[in-house]
Amino acid sequence: MSKERLSSLLLFLVGILALIQSAQFPMGTLEKPGPGVFPLMLSVLLAVIGVLLLIAEKGQGKLNWLRIIREKGTVWKIIILSAAFIAAFERLGYLASSAAYLFLLFFWVCHSRAGVAVALTAVITLGSWYLFGTILGLQLPTGPRLL
């Protein structure tokens, strides 16, 4: 299956799923249109467009899943690191999580030298902490309180 067909199929499926859900919302009356009207209309339209695209765009080539997983290494790494950052952010506090995030991005993803990575991380983390926390006065998580 080519990637064009896959995407059209996905659009169609999303439309159908949304359709099933929206049908359960109250439709209301003409005087008080309910929450279901709009989503229902939209999901029908989406499903229809999905079908139309399926027909119109044949696309070529097959999707090679192994290739996708293997070749886009950098992209995967960035996504994983970002997800980890989001998970740790409130728990570990801003300083710790950004430091880890940046360091790993520089060192692991960009293959910079360890020393350079540490230096950059230190400067940017502390600088941004100052900028956002102090100057801009944002409430950034401070992590576990150590007495």
Partner: protein
């Protein structure tokens, strides 16, 4: 007392050293928060309110207003340089602005954006000065039916935004509208598509989505191939727009000012609508619409002027009636209240000193801003010279913080990353992102206005052509729809029209 006398008195107050200082501070602060993605004028103003406690009210309002329109100047910077919309109004600037950067015309884009912003800002202040009460009356005539009709026009025009296949753009628009329905339905209190997740109950914010899809998606795409990207050394000549670009942007700037100012009068998503409408109008009017989306200066000049002009328009309702049209202005209002001034319809007549000082300071502020931003063009463009592998992690971190700062919500970060991945995938599949994001922005208001109108009229559709405004917008929407369909059928049929 005629206008010029009043203005003269206003300038006397505004041009005192103290007030110029406050104006400068506000503009500087505003530019800063505008440049940083995610943090917008709202946060900037809210953060500085405590600092205004000890100030006199004139200085305070001058400073806060400076933050407000100052942020509009900065918002275009990240949009143009990195495809990261600093805030909602700058989403449209990404489309051509970033393409211009890729073509090496970043300096020109930034310059024209600052220049257009000045013209738009100044013209809108003139608008406020001359027309505030009249315009307020006009804005009041905008009920749900009129709002729906206007948004319908915008919606029909959305379809022509994309550069790719019409069907694919439509799919993106529908998807955007669907995502917009997630959350609490304000009109009935029902939760849609939330599956019990409380964070979803306010829907999926469009700022994280826009930042994710445009900015993070772009970063992911760029890192795909290589981490070494060619950077160029900009020469001075390349920082400035050439004569052709200057000439081409004149029209869009003038049109953008008018369009933006009137769009700013509308409550709600005023700013976004202004830049978006300007983009669409320019694309329609242009003799070479195919160039839009590939780095066309009109696509930057118009929208950036419009969103600055919209700040003026947005302040009209506030100054003339005391009704805030958006959260940033509402917070400004609170600052005034804390100082013991009550904004309302009597504000202009009860506090002429304050009103005219504010107006005068807005002229001054726009000048300060253009003086601040133009030289900074060089600085910003040189930012691009930082090696990509250093730049993108920093950008990622800033996007994260900026998003988090909006409502201190971890969920927004999840949306940011998710949209980034989605944006990356959609890019690979060659779908246009702009229609999705814009549909997400105007969709909820479109639906809400429609249902509010029907709730008002008790189910009667007559409300949609009842007032002259509603009728004309509906007619315009219908006309544009038929025209779009007719145009798209043209080459396919192969027959002469």
């Amino acid at each position: 007392m005629n206008i010029f006398q009043n203005l003269g008195l206003g300038f006397q107050t505004a041009l005192t050293l103290k007030n110029i200082y406050f104006c400068f501070l506000g503009c500087l602060w505003g530019s800063m928060v505008g440049v940083l993605p995610g943090i917008g004028p709202l946060a900037g103003i809210a953060l500085l309110i405590p600092a205004t406690y000890g100030m006199d009210v004139t200085g305070a309002i001058i400073m806060l207003a400076g933050i407000y329109y100052g942020a509009m100047y900065g918002g275009s910077t990240t949009s143009i340089l990195m495809n990261i919309p600093g805030e909602s109004a700058s989403v449209v600037t990404c489309l051509d602005g970033y393409q211009m950067t890729k073509k090496g015309r970043a300096g020109a884009a930034l310059f024209i954006a600052a220049w257009g912003s000045w013209v738009g800002g100044t013209l809108s202040v003139i608008g406020i000065m001359l027309l505030a009460p009249t315009l307020a009356d006009l804005a009041m005539k905008f009920g749900p039916a009129e709002m729906f009709a206007l948004l319908l026009v915008a919606f029909v025009l959305l379809g022509s935004l994309g550069t790719g296949s019409f069907l694919k753009s439509m799919a993106m628009i529908i998807l955007g509208l669907l995502v917009g329905t997630v959350g609490l339905d304000n009109l009935t209190g029902a939760y849609r598509f939330t599956y019990g997740i409380r964070d979803l109950s306010d829907g999926i914010g469009f700022v994280p989505v826009a930042m994710g899809m445009f900015g993070i998606g772009e970063i992911l795409s760029a890192t795909e191939e290589t981490l070494v990207h060619e950077f160029y050394q900009p020469r001075l000549r390349e920082l400035l727009p050439n004569r052709q670009e200057f000439a081409a942007s004149l029209g869009p700037i003038l049109r953008g000012s008018g369009l933006g100012f009137f769009a700013g009068l509308l409550p709600g998503s005023a700013h976004v609508l202004s830049s978006f409408l300007s983009y669409i109008v320019e694309k329609r009017i242009s003799r070479r619409p195919e160039e839009f989306g590939t780095g066309c200066i009109q696509g930057v000049a118009g929208p950036e002027t419009a969103n600055n002009a919209a700040t003026g328009g947005a302040m009209v309702l506030f100054l003339a009636l005391g009704i805030p049209t958006g959260p940033a202005i509402a917070v400004m209002m609170i600052a005034l209240l804390i100082h013991g001034i009550r904004p309302g319809p009597l504000f202009i007549s009860e506090q002429p000193q304050l009103f005219w000082s504010l107006i005068a300071s807005m002229y001054v502020g726009n000048v300060i801003l253009v003086a601040l931003n133009l030289p900074l063009v060089g600085l910003f463009v040189n930012l691009l010279r930082v090696p990509f592998w250093i730049l993108f992690p920093v950008v990622l971190l800033i996007c994260m913080i900026g998003t988090y700062s909006i409502s201190l919500s971890r969920f927004d970060l999840i949306v940011l990353l998710g949209s980034g991945v989605m944006g990356y995938i959609l890019r690979k599949l060659r779908y246009d992102l702009a229609p999705l994001v814009l549909a997400l922005i105007i969709g909820p208001t479109l639906e809400e206005s429609f249902r509010q109108a029907l709730m008002r009229s008790g189910g009667s559709f007559a409300i949609f052509w009842g007032s002259p405004m509603a009728l004309s917008f509906m007619a315009l929407a219908a006309f544009l729809l038929f025209w779009s369909i007719w145009r798209s059928l043209q080459p396919v049929s192969g027959k002469k029209s």
